[in-house]
């Protein structure tokens, strides 16, 4: 049974979509000369991956990576620490409505803006360098972690929570005994995942001046040192892979 039952209407719709696609395609204005020129640069960039240069800028690369890793760890720790109270407040089954709305507002704010936009804002506020990067990543971490933590708390088993409440536990004891055991594995897993994301993001926000390996990468691209850029990207990929493997291992262990 077709979705549109009338045969003529169905054909008319199909023809309409086809005509629209042709017209839309014709309206796209492509400068083919520029494409062929750019294609060559693109190929150069890809070709340099075959011979990445780790050596000639090794000092800068090392400093950049170290800065990025420092930013990553610091921002993840700060972000996770802040996201726990906000995540508790944003879980409807444990927080009163005003607290819930306030925490959801913080989460929505943090998730609305892409990291780059936040980074530009903080670079303007505290100046170039890794401090802006750390604040940016910590802010983005709060939105991500608090939202997912709150959702996990909302999915927690109500009977276990009820049982601990019935013993006369205070609110904090209740969180510690009934909620924390249920959400801890996911909290640890998400923190490690966020560590990954923050490292990758630190390479991106460096381009707008927030420090780290991104700054080094940006400099090398501006100098047409594509072989150095390639070396940096390969190292980033390697570190991301390593942390992926590591976090998978830890996640299995905390189940």
């Amino acid at each position: 049974m077709p979705f549109v039952s009338d045969r003529r209407l169905r054909w008319a719709l199909n023809a309409g979509v086809l005509i629209y696609l042709v017209l839309a395609w014709l309206s796209v204005d492509v400068n083919w000369a520029r494409v062929s020129e750019g294609m060559e640069r693109g190929l150069n960039f890809i070709a340099s991956f075959l011979q990445p240069d780790f050596v000639s800028r090794s000092g800068e690369i090392f400093l950049g990576l170290r800065e990025s890793l420092t930013m990553t760890l610091t921002s993840t720790v700060i972000g996770v620490a802040l996201s726990i109270p906000i995540g508790l407040g944003a879980a409807r089954n444990i927080a009163p409505l005003p607290v819930y709305l306030f925490c959801r507002l913080i989460i929505a704010l943090s998730r609305t803006f892409q990291e780059i936009i936040i980074a530009i804002f903080f670079v303007a506020m505290v100046g170039f360098g890794p401090l802006a990067g750390v604040i940016t990543l910590a802010f983005a971490t709060v939105g991500f972690m608090a939202k997912l933590l709150a959702e996990d708390i909302e999915d927690a088993r109500p009977d276990q929570m009820e049982a601990v409440r019935a013993t006369g536990a205070s609110w904090l004891q209740w969180i510690n005994y009934a909620v924390q055991p249920q959400v801890m594995p996911r909290l640890i897993g998400l923190s490690l995942y966020r560590l990954d994301i923050n490292f990758r993001e630190s390479a991106v926000i460096g381009i707008v001046g927030a420090g780290g390996i991104g700054a080094t990468l940006n400099t090398s691209i501006n100098r047409y040192d594509y072989d150095t850029s390639a070396a940096i990207l390969l190292l980033v990929i390697l570190i991301v892979l390593a942390s992926e493997y590591f976090s998978g291992y830890v996640r299995k262990w905390v189940q």
């Binding site: 409807r92 444990i94 927080a95 009977d159 601990v164 013993t167 249920q182």
Partner: protein, 281 residues
């Protein structure tokens, strides 16, 4: 000891779960609360320890009014009331010992409970209770490693760990096989008689209840329709409580029959969902 006066509860959905219930339970009495699914049994016992907030009426425990208590006072009231659940409600990622010790949360401060620094007297009591329910060897197992009957035994130990005056028991056997059900009922009743506790047991299984309790209260549509000794339950009173049915067929067949499986969700589900949506007061 426990005194309910004109207790009523209406859920936000508009369902009137309790309609002016009056009930008095003296210390040491084992009372079975029977009634069809949705009669308000779960709501009634949850209104006593205020996991569910009644809309009107009062609850008095040993002369103290529990209705309207908040914060620390509510906490002190709750720790005198132990509770046992149909779904066992153990915190599955905590160890058996931690689950039993969580019965002391109303007595100790946050930091000590966070660091699991319990009094040696508490630990001794926990070991004695676990020994009593036959699970001393399991004390460092995780909650989710136990079978249903074992979980319920830990649940009993946790409730008694509170050294309660009153025990609220919500369908303790509905998820268990007939043999384990009898063992669990016997254990609850024995322990309570030893400590002279007042007990309210919500139970579907009328025959099982009759064997163990001192008094039966029948609830239908949120109102008490029967209150008497277990041997006073007749076909007429069962019809009054549960509605029309041929009660003369072999009781052994009916014992673990339909009412156990079918409607359970609708009854226990409703208050739990409401609790899940509500905040910690």
């Amino acid at each position: 000891m426990l005194e309910l006066k004109q207790l009523s509860k209406r859920y936000a959905t508009g369902d009137l779960a309790l309609n002016g219930v009056d009930l008095e339970v003296p210390a040491g009495q084992v009372l079975a609360l029977i009634g069809p699914s949705g009669a308000g049994k779960s709501t009634l016992i949850r209104c006593i320890n205020r996991l569910v907030e009644p809309i009107s009426g009062t609850v008095m425990l040993d002369g103290e009014k529990l209705s309207g208590l908040r914060g620390g006072k509510l906490r002190l009231a709750r720790r005198q009331i132990g509770m046992i659940f149909q779904s066992y409600a153990l915190v599955e990622r905590l160890s058996v010992m931690e689950n039993v010790l969580s019965g002391r949360l109303g007595y100790i401060g946050f930091w000590r409970s966070l660091l699991r620094k319990y009094d040696s007297a508490d630990i001794k009591q926990a070991c004695e209770l676990l020994d009593r329910v036959g699970l001393l060897s399991m004390l460092d197992k995780r909650g989710d490693a136990l079978s249903g009957g074992q979980k319920q035994r830990v649940g009993i130990a946790r409730a008694l760990m509170q050294q309660p005056k009153l025990l609220l028991v919500d369908e303790p056997t509905a998820s268990l096989d007939p043999k384990t059900s009898r063992q669990i009922m016997r254990l609850i009743v024995e322990l309570c008689r030893e400590q002279n506790l007042a007990v309210i047991i919500n139970i579907h299984d009328v025959a099982l209840a009759q064997q163990f309790v001192d008094r039966v209260v029948g609830l239908a549509a949120g109102e008490v329709v029967f209150d008497g000794r277990p041997d006073e339950l007749t076909e007429e009173t069962l019809t009054l409580i549960y509605g029309e049915e041929d009660w003369s067929t072999d009781a052994e067949d009916g014992e673990h029959g339909e009412d156990e499986e079918s409607g359970d969700e609708s009854e226990t589900g409703d208050p739990l969902n409401n609790i899940a949506k509500g905040a910690h007061p």
